[in-house]
Symmetry: D2
Subunit: 347 residues, 4 copies
């Protein structure tokens, strides 16, 4: 932490700040400049709270230096983490595609779409049974029967599954029925849910909140790791900005930022990230080119009849075309399409 004094700060004010630091058991380091004094602090084990100092007389500004995350940091673990979902590796060069309908609507729709995305080459089947919907009057998902359908279909087509959990009860069910727990953007800072997911024995897909900084995303992941769950995949899915040509603004530079700061894999969701069907494939390509570790894409064999988010679902043919293009792009970033292995071999 660095404390910057005002130009007009008195010697006594500087001394008072130093005494304040020492009273906390820390060591002040005064750095006298031509115009003003700055005071560095050392000796702290944890990140200090700027508000400890910013209302002291003569203090102009308090600048945090350390970052508050630890376990997720690449400084702590330099090598990439590989997360195994069923037998599918994500990260460490393995590029995994999660695809499927926004919502599980019924056995036929789920099977039809699952077979299509499997055929196109996707690795993991996505499908929501618990839907966080802005309006209480819209379709909220099938609940546990939806998860049963997802599991049955997943066994039939041979793909591991990921589905969103919203609260304690749905989390227990997702852990029971699926291979990966999704924590959605609206729950990225639902710390109760994060703690529960941190205790679960299944990998977690953690989506970035619409107004979350990269640091906050990493801190949310830190909750999971602090509870003992190291199998975490992050997901960039668009942030909220003033722009109105898309539902969200996909922040692809966040992929590069996360990969420098953390060892966790990060994938991109261009479906929610744009909210527009015609933008999904171009942005998916861009995500691969920027160096993401995978994609999550909504696919529906008949988007016009989907019960939710139909504006952003692509059809299986579009997914197939995208999957055909990925092997051209991935080597440019040192990646390759993931190869599913048996769960036994993976462990």
């Amino acid at each position: 932490m660095l404390i910057v004094m005002t130009v007009n700060a008195t010697k006594e004010e500087v001394e008072q700040v130093k005494r304040h630091i020492e009273a906390l058991g820390l060591t002040p380091h005064a750095i006298p400049g031509a115009q003003r004094v700055a005071i560095g602090i050392t000796g702290n084990r944890d990140v200090l709270d700027p508000s400890l100092f910013e209302n002291l007389p003569g203090v102009l500004e308090v600048i945090p230096v350390s970052h508050p995350y630890k376990l997720v940091s690449r400084e702590v673990k330099p090598e990439d983490t590989v997360v195994w979902v069923g037998g599918v590796p994500v990260g460490g060069g393995h590029f995994a595609v999660m695809a499927g309908p926004c919502s599980v609507e019924g056995p036929e729709q789920t099977l039809t779409t699952a077979q299509a995305v499997k055929k196109a080459g996707a690795h993991i089947l996505r499908g929501g049974a618990f839907k966080p919907r802005t309006s209480p009057y819209t379709f909220q998902g099938l609940g546990e029967p939806g998860l049963q359908i997802l599991r049955d279909v997943s066994r039939e087509v041979g793909m591991p599954t990921v589905s969103e959990a919203l609260d304690e009860r749905s989390l227990e069910l997702v852990v029971e029925y699926c291979d990966m727990i999704q924590i959605g953007a609206r729950n990225m800072q639902n710390f109760s849910l994060l703690r529960l997911a941190g205790k679960a024995r299944k990998p977690v897909l953690l989506k970035r909140g619409m107004a979350a900084t990269v640091e906050e995303l990493l801190m949310a992941a830190e909750y999971l790791l602090a509870e003992g769950n190291y199998q975490v995949v992050l997901c960039e899915r668009g942030i909220r900005t003033f722009t109105d040509h898309t539902r969200n603004t996909l922040d692809l530079a966040a992929v590069v930022a996360v990969q420098r700061l953390s060892h966790l894999p990060i994938i991109v969701d261009p479906s929610h990230g744009t909210g527009k069907r015609h933008k999904v494939v171009p942005l998916a390509r861009a995500a691969a080119a920027v160096g993401a570790d995978g994609l999550m894409i909504e696919v529906h064999h008949n988007p016009m009849q989907a019960l939710s988010d139909r504006a952003q679902a692509i059809v299986p043919e579009e997914l197939a075309q995208l999957m055909n293009q990925l092997p051209t792009i991935l080597p440019l970033t040192g990646r390759h399409l993931a190869q599913a292995q048996s769960a036994a071999a993976a462990s």
Copy 2:
């Protein structure tokens, strides 16, 4: 809903859209313009999903016309709702001040601050026992013992209380110990929690999410009313923008917007809304002048020793000065400081 066709849309494309509308049991109204055709839709009971139409050939844009909220709407209930917290009215001209520490840290701190805010004229005692913290390594609140302290102090000083609930368990406890349930900004779209709070028999303070539009705030409140809880107070507490001189940007115009669209009272939290102690009182005055129905303010008798959010807590003397200024401002907006009544008289 209005569907705007491209300039080059063919007659057949227009007909196809009309047939699509009719197939949904609705009525299309073509509006032929000089350059292009637009098609209005009537006959729907619920809000239509734009994605039903926006990928049809020849469609340029789909514009929603209706708003998806009902029970919270001033169109449905023109007169202001008055929410009673203990015996304190909020809304309908009654301006209520909620004040107290960010966190309940112990009996002495809570009592000292409570006596001070009571003396200054505040109506409702705030204090967190369950704290949503960005880092898993920082103080997370005292939990149930904190709520017990808050209840004991509230009885001693004679003020109703409000405290934040994060999940099912903490909600049950807040309902048991407090007079009002706070749903924080990070949980504004935690729909599971909203449903539970909607079933509770205590009034709810619903804070606007950092990236939530006014419409999304009203939809979140709609969840509460749809479950039968009509005692809802909204709270503007700052949104996330590019600005860096404050932690959030307090959007005071949202107060006016909400009051036009909804009958629910709306208060302002200038503590979180700015994150800076020296900005709290000026923005609190501004909130009163814009026409808010109350304030929520963090006060600590010794901010430097507070365990959380100390940068934004004001001291009791600052609160007292603010309370002295409010009676000058409030009549300009047709409001007055709330007068606490016995809970019996209120019901």
Copy 3:
């Protein structure tokens, strides 16, 4: 400037950074922490560029400490600046109201509105003759004839005037015809125009850009002062955010931020700041309550027939009601309505 090294930085990397600092004629101050080293720099007269260091091996982050503005800083000049517009003081406790039509449309409209705002108590007449319009096909202002009308009306009603300049030619004309030069939000970083206005012998009203930080606003003002023009009034007029209930988000906390950092007066424009007529008066009251040094408000005696920005113009009766409320609010912030003096007495 503070350079933060990575946890794994080698001694040699630390030494290299120190040598780099010394090679620039500056002094490094290593601050060894438990986890990592930070290096403070002193000896620089000007603000250093972070990019001088941030790509050196072992460097995690470079944190600027000083602020790049000087002449506008309250550290340099602690007392408030009072800007005189004609005989009207702005700042230093004097609260000035600038009001009038968005555009000068003709002699009658301008005179009618001017008489009305004068009668309501406004101090300075605003009216645009050069309009920056998003579309090339909309009314762009009357140009020089508009300024002539504004001057004639100003003499008839006895009010000084302010009008916007867009480029070199219009700046010369505004200087010739008006008492104050307005630099609009879209030109806040038009540095050529700022330099010209800095050389002019008329006070300048500098509006904050839609995406400008407070620091960037102060730096734009620094351009004016650096050219010798110290008569500068800043103006908060709303920033661009994700919100859609107003055209812009009025950032009233910026008023407090500017007043701490700078001695220059700052006023608020609730007309552009909200873009909605029904929000103008509430936000104007809020601006007075937060401690602004004045207001700029669009008024039209018949908004429905205005040629530009009619959605946000209030009628003279609304202005009169606002002016009646201001004397109640202003003493709470140590301010009073400005009293026009003769220009001779003022100088």
Copy 4:
């Protein structure tokens, strides 16, 4: 335009709105819904101003339907525009790379960097002689001597040039010395400058403003076309959001949005779009993969000694690696690296 009435609007209020529409010479089309009436308007040649209606009694909302741009619209001209810069085509499948130093600092630096970017395969040489700098105290560019250096170097290495114009005088010089006029992000809504550039006989590179919507970018381009200059290339260079891990947030989905709405080519500037050297190449790849028509990249043979923006300049070796990767990506979007032709052959 669509006018939405409130649920409680009276028949008389509906009639009044209709009369108001007719009084403007237009035709109202009432659409009676179950809950409320909406009124469509036809007969207008230009885009209507919503404020004509939104303060009428009973009006809830006014929704614009048409877009205000014409000449830039793909509805008017469906086929891609190809812009020729010197003999280099941009758009219509031709992917062009503009590279070079942020600022022209001297003959040697410019020549060294130009030779390196030419060798790497870049098509157009960029270099600033007039720099819009936030602070009046930092390097502002060499001015006309800088343009002379740029021209001499461009002749020596055989590359056309692009350089930024800030005002009338610098525009004249850029037209004289360079092959393409750059209008920077801060001047995107400097309408005086746009009009002058629209009259120039050189192609224009128009950068998106930091807070500009896609529609505003197209409207700014409309100014250029309306003055007769159809040789316009747009440029996405990052927008301002709450994120802090990059200087700006690169909005790659805007490329897709622009290409649907307009026939003009659009390139991407990942240097300003990220502000961080290590993010430039990944985002450049992503821009190619999303379907952009080119890139603008800052390159310096010795970034640490650059006089401006050194944090974001890549070295020639990085550019060369990127250029090697582009031919792999471009065919996926139906594009290819541009082939320079002689200017004569091009015309």
